[in-house]
């Protein structure tokens, strides 16, 4: 179809369409990050994405595959490590987050042949979205949406009261792994838009904004998606017109919406 082709030929539209796809899944997943206090956990996974990129170049696999695999391995390692209660979770996360980022950067510096746009990876790049990336984003988004919708009750129940959920037959541990897997996919596909360092913001800020307006969990996820859309379209437009970096512009827009909602809506919290 020529119209679609014309649109997809334009890098701005590609970035926007991709960004909206990311926001679609970042909404519900961001709610779980907020509810389960996993912000730092998400950060750690995101930081490890850079290591994933370096490894992808080393073993010559597509970047998205390398990033997802690295995130999954790290996430599973984290879940296992956290059972050994020798270190507080935030200490452990702090160690792994920054080590993964540093190892990624050092590894990349050993590969002079590989030309990577580091700023783009860290802060997102409006120009970097290819048609192939769009396929990845919408493939990932479809998978995540199907998982979130079919597993919603179990995910929510194990968030509210893990032990009660277990007694009622919810496979709490398995759902935790599924959730972590979904985070890994989101990070891999969102990296292009907002960059490694700011992915957690795209997950948390729209969800936190939605909390103020929502009466139940499903509403919160839906409203978070809307604020994600606003952040992505506002931020990318900002980036396009003012030539600001894409990721920070998206986060700034999300933050403005957050401040606006929290300063205007004076309703009681449900």
């Amino acid at each position: 179809m020529p119209i679609i082709d014309t649109i997809l030929d334009d890098f701005f539209w590609r970035a926007l369409i991709g960004g909206l796809g990311v926001a679609l899944v970042a909404g519900p997943l961001g709610c779980f990050v907020v509810w389960r206090r996993m912000a730092y956990f998400g950060d750690t996974l995101a930081h490890s994405a850079l290591l994933g990129i370096a490894l992808s170049f080393l073993i010559r696999v597509p970047l998205n595959v390398g990033v997802v695999l690295t995130c999954v391995v790290l996430a599973v390692a984290l879940v296992l490590f956290s059972r050994v209660k020798a270190l507080a979770t935030d200490t452990l996360l702090g160690i792994l987050a920054h080590s993964a980022l540093a190892i990624g950067l050092v590894t990349l510096s050993f590969m002079p042949d590989v030309r990577v746009d580091l700023t783009g990876l860290l802060f997102g790049d409006l120009l970097a979205m290819s048609r192939n990336d769009l396929l990845w984003i919408y493939g990932g988004a479809l998978l995540i949406m199907v998982l979130v919708i079919t597993l919603w009750r179990g995910l929510l129940m194990s968030t509210i009261h893990p032990e009660l959920a277990r007694v009622e037959g919810v496979p709490v541990e398995r759902l935790r792994l599924v959730l972590v897997l979904m985070f890994s996919i989101v990070i891999a596909v969102a990296m292009k838009i907002v960059g490694v360092l700011l992915i957690t913001a795209l997950l948390i800020i729209p969800a936190a904004t939605a909390r103020r307006l929502a009466q139940n969990p499903e509403q919160m996820a839906g409203i978070a998606i809307i604020f994600g859309f606003i952040a992505v379209s506002g931020g990318l437009s900002l980036s396009w017109y003012l030539d600001t970096p894409a990721g920070p512009s998206v986060v700034v827009t999300a933050f403005l919406a957050f401040v606006l909602v929290y300063s205007s809506a004076r309703k009681s919290r449900a």
Binding site: T159, L164, V167, A214, N216, A270
Partner: protein, 263 residues
């Protein structure tokens, strides 16, 4: 006698080689109300978590009736303030129909809170919500961890009375942990005094005279408890238990471990 819902055989749960639950044997039948009492750190919660499958047993066995539906009333419902949730939605997450949920809420006396946010409930309302939640599942076994927490004294008595009525209505087994000794003694069939191991168990009236009980809780508590004499209804007889006599019986009656010195 029918098959027990729960059978524990020498159940032991140890943390770093220190037993929290030490060689506990226990049967729960349909129609039983069994209350676990004991000082802080006695392993009461660990014991029921092992029964519920939340805590792995270090040694010994937990046998559960396979068909059994368990209703669990946890100690707390602490809801993350970022999670908007009202009573209706919380009940619906049990997967039961809206009618069943409403009936359960009505049974525990909190139907008027259907649209209320869980965040705004008082301690007593939360306990009744959790009980309704367990009830909606039509449990064969009701497991309660300090159900009367945060409930005022009048509410406590009526809550225990409600639990007893629910046992009759559902013909379920009830296993609960409680600190409200005087109330428990009146509302329960059998008391197990836990202090890692079962230090004594039996009918409430007996147990208050038990030296092991007095050693654990002190004379004052034992005396105050003894006042609340438990009048046996006849349910126990139906389940094959002989009417209580002065003679301690080897299994269902008054048991006592041989002493504390070697534990």
């Amino acid at each position: 006698m029918t098959e027990p819902l729960v059978t524990l055989e020498n159940l032991t749960v140890a943390f770093d080689d220190r037993p929290a639950v030490d060689h506990v044997n226990l049967n729960v039948h349909r129609g039983d109300i069994i209350t676990i009492i004991g000082p802080n750190g006695a392993g009461k919660t660990t014991l029921i978590k092992a029964i519920l499958g939340i805590q792995k047993a270090t040694a010994g066995k937990v046998h559960l009736d396979r068909q059994m539906v368990i209703g669990y009333v946890p100690q707390h419902l602490v809801l993350e303030s970022t999670l908007p949730l009202n009573v209706e939605r919380f009940m619906a997450l049990s997967g039961r129909s809206s009618e069943e949920c409403k009936a359960a809420l009505a049974r525990t006396g909190v139907q008027h809170l259907l649209k209320a946010s869980v965040h705004h409930l008082s301690g007593g309302e939360r306990q009744r919500l959790l009980l309704a939640r367990a009830l909606a599942r039509k449990p064969d076994l009701l497991v309660l961890d300090e159900p009367a927490q945060g409930v005022d004294i009048n509410g406590q008595a009526s809550l225990y009375e409600l639990i007893r009525q629910l046992r009759d209505e559902l013909n379920c087994g009830v296993l609960m942990i409680s600190h409200d000794l005087h109330l428990v003694m009146a509302a329960t069939d059998k008391v197990i005094c836990l202090n890692q191991h079962v230090c004594c168990s039996g009918y409430p009236a007996d147990i208050s005279h038990d030296p092991a009980f007095i050693e654990t809780f002190g004379h004052q508590v034992a005396e105050s408890v003894a006042v609340y004499h438990h009048h046996h209804n006849h349910r126990h007889d139906l389940h094959g238990d002989v009417v209580r006599s002065q003679q301690p019986r080897p299994t269902e009656g008054h048991e006592e471990c041989s002493g504390h010195a070697h534990h």
